[in-house]
């Protein structure tokens, strides 16, 4: 079986693991545009510590938490709601699902461009609001709105994926149990609360982890819709890492932010899995 693994392993070793090691190397070195192609003096954890203490980093960390929270919360909540709506078939449910999954299949680039205009004061959202005599809202400009708007657009593409997975889990559900609940006179809400949701628990856990990991590294939507701005208002950790390296040419600081981000992702995933396990044992 080794021969089956070897090509992929070699390929990844050179083009993925080596860059990964270089990233860590860069984060513990002093690298600027002067010596990017030369020697990298070792500075240890000093660079990582210095970067983690900056106001920019704290802002990006808070932004990342808000972003991830919205993508995971709205993505899973919306996905569950949509799956329940489409569960039992009915007119248009196949078409609706296909339409939703298309928005998931489109690259973030195209969805981002589309929504950047839809959220423009001349775009779809404000045009619809103007019917209700609401003054134009500058979604991608004012205060925390840009960050929230981009996160919601990203969640809009996560919902279809979560819907698919929830739908598959719902279709797998033992129909006798659901039929028994109905015979016993359970209201739909009670069935949902006491039968469906507990049965969906493993699915919710998997989806939480997947969307958490996905949202934390999300980059395309921010790049396309706000480029981290205005100012730094919608700069999350991956985008800060990009900005430090490619706008300010502080390569080691950018690498340090990327390494801290990865550490945080792993920490969150492990912490989450641990708490799930502990709860299951109790």
């Amino acid at each position: 079986m080794g021969l089956y693994l070897l090509p992929a392993a070699l390929f990844l070793a050179v083009l993925a693991l080596y860059p990964f090691v270089e990233l860590i190397h860069m984060s513990v070195s002093q690298v600027s545009s002067d010596n990017i192609f030369g020697d990298w003096p070792f500075i240890g954890a000093a660079g990582v510590q210095a970067v983690a203490g900056t106001a920019d980093f704290r802002e990006a960390a808070v932004n990342s938490l808000i972003y991830v929270g919205l993508v995971v919360g709205v993505g899973l909540g919306g996905g569950l709601a949509a799956a329940l709506v489409l569960w039992r078939g009915g007119p248009l449910s196949g078409f609706t699902l296909a339409l939703m999954v298309f928005s998931w299949a489109l690259p973030g680039l195209i969805n981002g461009v589309d929504w950047r205009f839809l959220l423009d004061p001349r775009g779809m959202v404000d045009t619809i609001l103007s019917v209700a005599r609401v003054a134009p809202i500058y979604w991608l400009v004012e205060g925390r709105l840009p960050l929230i708007s981009v996160a919601l657009v990203n969640a809009w593409t996560v919902v279809p994926f979560a819907t698919l997975v929830f739908r598959a889990a719902l279709l797998d559900m033992p129909s006798e149990v659901l039929a028994a609940a109905e015979v016993d006179g359970a209201r739909p809400r009670q069935t949902l609360r006491y039968i469906v949701l507990p049965l969906l628990r493993p699915t919710i856990l998997v989806l939480t982890i997947l969307s958490l990991l996905y949202a934390f590294k999300s980059f395309d939507f921010i790049y396309i819709m706000t480029f981290g701005g205005p100012g730094t208002a919608s700069t999350t950790l991956p985008f800060l890492s990009y900005r430090l390296a490619f706008e300010l040419y502080q390569f080691s600081n950018g690498a340090a932010v990327a390494v801290i981000t990865l550490g945080l992702i792993i920490l969150m995933a492990v912490f989450y899995l641990r708490s799930v396990q502990r709860e299951e044992r109790a």
Partner: protein
């Protein structure tokens, strides 16, 4: 509210939330510049002037470039990922856990973090400024994802099926090629479709590693113009529609595959 009514209302809401943005995208691409500014919503005089402006030799060439990069990436990724996913589904023990752990670690690394090291690697091979370089970078980005998607399909092939082949005297390779692969074709097609879509929309590597505009994929045309001041939205939306068409065409054939394949791939 009865259940049927709730389901219908919910379905209608979903159709609006997911359909209207695309209707608006197409509508905007059919507007003149003056009509975009007058915010006329969906009631306007359609014109194809934006398409007449943007659809030219350069745009068509960028579509060809996108097709080369996306198809090349899909091919290379599948070639490497399929046997690896099979092995990781059949072998047991520490090695598999280490392998899967490494794949997940690579999968969660933010893409920009790999730009500088990859720049150096590709530079060392004289592949900067070439589409082959972008294909290699894209494949490295998507290979872990592809293995993780395809592996569950191999896991679901019963071992007895393979043992029967071995008993009949087939070599390991023939068992894989003639028995296992045909059964798992759906999974491989699911992986191929998703890889193609992502590679079609990838812009960060392409914008960084390519320098000749004649080699740019359509994603770079979009990403490169989006930040410019005084952007012409009807033109931008027309390009976005053109860039979406190949995906729509493939999706029309593969959406059932994706619907069933994604749920399987992600939960195991």
């Amino acid at each position: 509210m009865t259940r049927a009514l709730a389901a219908r209302t919910g379905t209608a809401l979903l159709v609006v939330i997911y359909g209207l943005p695309f209707v608006w995208l197409v509508a905007t691409s059919l507007k003149s510049d003056t009509e975009i500014f007058s915010a006329t919503g969906l009631i306007f005089q359609p014109t194809i002037s934006a398409y007449q402006t943007v659809v030219n030799a350069d745009l068509l060439r960028s579509c060809v470039n996108s097709a080369i990069i996306a198809a090349g990436t899909t091919l290379l990724t599948l070639l490497l990922a399929t046997p690896a996913a099979y092995a990781l589904a059949r072998v047991k023990g520490m090695l598999v856990n280490i392998g899967l752990g490494a794949l997940i670690l690579l999968q969660i690394t933010p893409q920009p973090a790999t730009l500088i090291p990859l720049y150096r690697v590709l530079g060392g091979w004289n592949l900067l400024g070439t589409q082959l370089g972008v294909i290699l970078a894209d494949s490295a980005l998507l290979l872990p994802f592809c293995v993780l998607i395809v592996r569950p399909f191999f896991l679901s092939v019963p071992l007895e099926v393979e043992e029967a082949g071995v008993v009949d005297g087939a070599s390991r390779w023939r068992v894989f090629w003639q028995i296992v692969l045909p059964i798992t074709l759906n999974g491989i097609a699911t992986g191929a479709t998703i890889i193609f879509f992502i590679a079609w929309g990838e812009f960060l590597y392409a914008i960084t590693f390519l320098s000749d505009p004649g080699q740019y994929p359509i994603s770079v045309l979009i990403a490169g113009q989006i930040g410019m001041y005084g952007i012409r939205w009807s033109n931008m939306m027309a390009i976005a529609v053109v860039a979406s068409l190949p995906i729509l065409a493939i999706y029309a054939y593969t959406h059932r595959l994706l619907r069933d394949g994604l749920a399987l791939g992600s939960v195991r």
